[in-house]
Symmetry: C2
Subunit: 207 residues, 2 copies
């Protein structure tokens, strides 16, 4: 406190250490979920001493929050890019794209989606997580609203969450046709499709 120092008193030896800790935290979350997130697991993963994790983040809550922020950020970024690439799809195209999206999420981004759901559920009992969970859910609706009408966007968003939940819950993989019929039911009027008569391959029993 001598010279009214304004700049940070000293630069840290490894300026990326904080970042690496967050990254490691995300990795631990993906691998073991909220339940498995511990200071020690993060420290091990990041290759830093245990003390570092509490040095850069006062409490485990803070650390978790920082990591979840990054996860949600990845989601919002991904979704915006996805929508941009889609342009102005027709109803059928959108149904197809959403099917692709959900199947990809379940198959290739399993851990990410699981963490997203864990965040949502955790936010139900921990108000401190509400904000992030809301950002997540509102992003979906906001992005879909650029592709269809507001009402359908809501329905699609809800269905998307429900389907990914189902896909990750059921032991067998969710049939692609199953997913697609749901989105078509929302996006295309009954008439063109036949009054709901299911496609031959779309009638697989719900797992």
């Amino acid at each position: 406190m001598q010279h009214d120092q304004i700049r940070p008193p000293r630069g840290p030896a490894d300026p990326q250490r904080r970042e690496r800790i967050i990254t490691a935290t995300v990795d631990v979350l993906l691998a073991h979920g909220m339940e498995g997130l511990t200071h020690r697991a993060v420290a091990h993963r990041a290759g830093v001493p245990l003390g570092s994790t509490t040095y850069y983040f006062a409490t485990l809550d803070e650390l978790r929050h920082a990591a979840l922020q990054r996860v949600v950020g990845a989601y919002t970024g991904y979704m915006h890019a996805w929508a941009t690439e889609l342009g102005q799809p027709t109803a059928v195209e959108l149904a197809e794209a959403m099917t692709e999206l959900v199947c990809l999420a379940i198959d290739d981004f399993t851990e990410h989606v699981i963490v997203d759901h864990e965040l949502s559920v955790a936010s139900m009992r921990q108000p401190r997580l509400k904000e992030l969970a809301c950002l997540y859910s509102s992003t979906t609706v906001a992005v879909l609203e650029t592709l269809t009408t507001p009402v359908k966007a809501r329905a699609l968003a809800a269905a998307m969450d429900g389907l990914s939940l189902l896909g990750l819950t059921s032991p067998e993989p969710l049939p692609r046709a199953y997913v697609e019929t749901v989105f078509r039911a929302i996006l295309t009027p009954d008439a063109p499709n036949g009054p709901d008569a299911p496609h031959a391959d779309a009638d697989t029993e719900a797992p």
Copy 2:
């Protein structure tokens, strides 16, 4: 082992003790979630000594499983009764009934629904819970299939899960109109409703 005893060697002093422990476990789950489920909390709640909880259930997993079974059972029972009472609704009636159902779930059965979601999410990392989580999700679809076409039933089920997730996640209560438009989007063809032009009051921003 003297007389080849076949009947259970002796009746327990309090034959309802086991049941009371399960009930207490459910209560703890409702109040504090999976995270907060501990032997001690259950014992306290049930008014039994700590040892009892491990006496009747070898492990915490077992206890949790028994309690979740009861929660899911309550859900399936409720849903079947709900569908029975509905009879053969029109599309509009069904949309209304589902709106009522979701709003009621969020407002009056909050803790129950939260536990349901906790079960679903937990089952993603714990295969031992898959079976129960599946029973839960498949019940919804099965019940709805008695009220509408299979494809719409799936869409409704997915949307229902997504909406309750959203309702429990968002800080402000989910507007009733918001919920209803989603179900109407699935259940009623575009034409009669106007091509998706939202109702005046149904356009509340997503929370």
